[in-house]
Symmetry: C2
Subunit: 265 residues, 2 copies
């Protein structure tokens, strides 16, 4: 077994396969966060983990078994610990005469993960201290230039999708890292006069696509994988994917909603 | 270990805890079904299992690992084997000026299971050879007098809920029997002019209730348990139950969609 040289903050038990944070000078979220940050800063400086090259300077929450906040951790470091991460994904759609159409953004080519791939209309990670809806309003403004009032009045919570993200080389991380994720899902029906447009450098362009165009792109693997899950969930909830047209219906629906084995808020 | 005296059709291995059907004269679904029916007929005549008192003369399908039909089994006997059973549940709702309202039936007081409890607008088990949508159309006509055209045009598939039904005394069965179930979920938005009414002796009356009235009845445990799950799923999909108003949101959504460990079609 490869023995990690960790700082004095950690007790590593290779037999039990546990890593325990030792907080000698008190046990509260802010103290734990400092110790974890120190370890991660060192690991990043030593170039020990590829995923840390995607450092974001953004803190994610880590919850305990009683839903209490245990500590905060740098976003890029969370897959090293396999803690659950949270995000919001919103599908903006138009009921046009020809049927439902979807606002589909293409990620900027130079984005460090999944550059050039297709995405959900609005999507983003929830930082420590942020509630899902406020995260959604912020991201909708930043990424898609959608007015705050429109989102506050029109966005409708529609469940969660929960899954394991298996990190691969394409995402610039270690292979085999397993990251449980929970995305809060929202729908936003908009009129044909609402035109999302890139508000930062995250998105290259927005397309207004029919169901068939979205399905073709899904089949070709052009969507970022978790965005494909959100679209499948939309198709299920809106009667576009049905027991009559999809033989894997039962399995798809349950696998979109995996029960996570780890604490959540 | 209690040794079951089964017929010569069965091999019981108490060590491996398996029960194997021995089909000496050929191995096809119809032959297997005859052997299982013979065993269940005998068990019923001997009064061996309380659940068999609810004999329905209705066959349910049992699927194998490659989704093939293995055999058919009497509906009331399926929990003895723990095989997955399937049904349809539809929520008919009205968008009234005051908000969404739900058509809620009360089950007939003399119904053998959950008599007098509240139900979903339309619900029923899927028999062998029936597809979900046709089962829905049939049940909507029989139980709620909803016209076939209205259901064919308006009912929208909206996913599945999957769960374990733990049989208890109230349901007239053995305690501790675990029955995995999959319900295909449909929504039907209707105008205020559509009035469901009892079409057979299964339903006593229909109420048109607000969200608050439904929630109060849910909190008091007045709904048949799996119907409560279907309503929770509706509330989630329609933005009535949200991350902002429900602290158990993540857990509720994933537990409504349990992945079943057994073969499904």
């Amino acid at each position: 077994m490869h023995a990690l040289r960790l700082s004095e903050h950690w007790d590593v038990d290779p037999h039990e396969r546990t890593v325990t944070l030792l907080s000698h000078d008190g046990n509260d979220p802010s103290k734990r966060s400092v110790l974890v940050a120190e370890t991660m800063d060192n690991a990043r400086a030593e170039g020990r983990f590829k995923v840390l090259k995607g450092w974001r300077n953004e803190l994610y929450p880590v919850y305990g078994p009683n839903r209490e906040l245990l500590l905060d951790i740098e976003r890029a470091a969370s897959p090293l610990f396999g803690v659950v991460t949270y995000g919001v994904h919103m599908t903006a759609y138009v009921r046009a005469k020809e049927g439902v159409k979807f606002w589909v953004p293409r990620r900027a080519r130079n984005k460090q993960t999944y550059g050039g791939m297709l995405d959900n209309t609005v999507a983003g990670g929830i930082s420590t201290g942020e509630v899902p809806f406020e995260c959604l309003v912020r991201e909708a403004s930043e990424e898609a230039s959608l007015p705050e009032d429109l989102v506050r009045e029109g966005a409708r919570a529609a469940g969660t999708i929960t899954y394991f993200y298996v990190r691969d080389e394409r995402a610039g991380g270690e292979t085999g890292l397993l990251q449980p994720e929970c995305q809060y899902v929202y729908d936003l029906e908009v009129g044909e006069d609402v035109l999302p447009k890139p508000g930062d450098n995250e998105v290259e362009d927005f397309y207004l696509w029919t169901v068939e165009e979205v399905q073709r792109a899904l089949a070709k693997g052009e969507f970022k994988p978790n965005c494909a899950l959100v679209l499948l969930d939309f198709f299920v909830r809106h009667g576009l994917l049905t027991p009559a047209n999809e033989k894997d219906y039962i399995e798809i629906v349950s696998r979109l909603h995996r029960r996570l084995e780890f604490p959540t808020p």
